[in-house]
Symmetry: C2
Amino acid sequence: MELTNTRLDRDARRELILDVAQEVFLEEGFANASMSSIAARLGGSKGTLYNYFKSKDDLFNAYVERRCLWQDEIFAFPLPGETPDQSLRRIGRAYLTRVLTDFNLRNFRLIVAEAERSPEIGRIFYDAGPRMGAERVGELLRGMAAAGHLELEDPLEAAHQFLGLVQNRYFKARLCNAIPELTEKQIEDEAAFAARTFLRAYGRR
Amino acid sequence: MELTNTRLDRDARRELILDVAQEVFLEEGFANASMSSIAARLGGSKGTLYNYFKSKDDLFNAYVERRCLWQDEIFAFPLPGETPDQSLRRIGRAYLTRVLTDFNLRNFRLIVAEAERSPEIGRIFYDAGPRMGAERVGELLRGMAAAGHLELEDPLEAAHQFLGLVQNRYFKARLCNAIPELTEKQIEDEAAFAARTFLRAYGRR
DNA sequence: GTCTATAAAGCGATAGAC
DNA sequence: GTCTATCGCTTTATAGAC
């Protein structure tokens, strides 16, 4: 009993540390985030921090594993009764909304900056994020083609193209902090525009 | 005479310092690059460095101005006798080649990492780079539409779409260091694929 | 396990000799 | 203008009291 309680407390504390570390990493970047400031914001001490993570790199790797090694189901399959245009607009809107999230933008900046020195981190993120997203959309498109709504040879390539249509105008711009946050309407319009272009190219005539 | 020589020498040395600083910034990132290592690689001393740039931020701003405040003519207008497909493939290939350059990828990582704390730097880069590129392509498309080769309402939006088709599959992946360098053929194929999709959507039937 | 205190190293920036 | 030497500060990481 004692043992179980201690285990739970330890795990809970570890999670708490990771929550705080995440905040600091996203705000300051890896190089600028200091173990001291993480400990301070945690309310604890550096000694405790080093008790849970043996180095700053170790802490960062734990962050990457927790934040990049999952991808939930925003790419739901076509809903019953949806037209192809409706499906694509729904997926496009969901994708763009997610990709322009404050967390996603900051995380992307953080990961990409570190990808130079530790390529493994970039690869972990890419495989679990963008690559998996494109594959999900590829499956969706394959299904739509099988149902006779689209004419395409390479669903994965088409998925990359669709996601490119959806995000190209705003993703880089937001990443660079060059434009303000998008409105719901802008996102909806962009997704609709992408769906229209995609269907003109791939829709059954 | 004396004065002119000194001017030239000083400017030349300044350029040399910026060359070295660029190397270190691109390799280490801004936070990890130290004035000491820049001075060491330069073969000079920190005293000299601070004689030319009053702070590390000052040096970085000079780098940004030099590397981001120009954009040469890779988006040439359609060559005489080119078909729309040939124009688009040529532009797409040139754009993709340029965007996947080692320098461009490293510079993008560097700038984007700093865009969090100094949005001005991100904006400068975006306006002189991606935004200007999209506008150039927009003009190209407007010309092609005026010549009766395309049917489109919003050339700038279409330009963003075309560039999205061209780069979405590989830019993020290369940025994350998740895939190896592309071959000439891959670049050519991707540009051809983008041109085909774009023309299916916007080409005159 | 958690704290305080501190070690060892590196940083940006400066002073002063030449 | 360029160098050496160093200041003052912050960093990661550790040692030892409790």
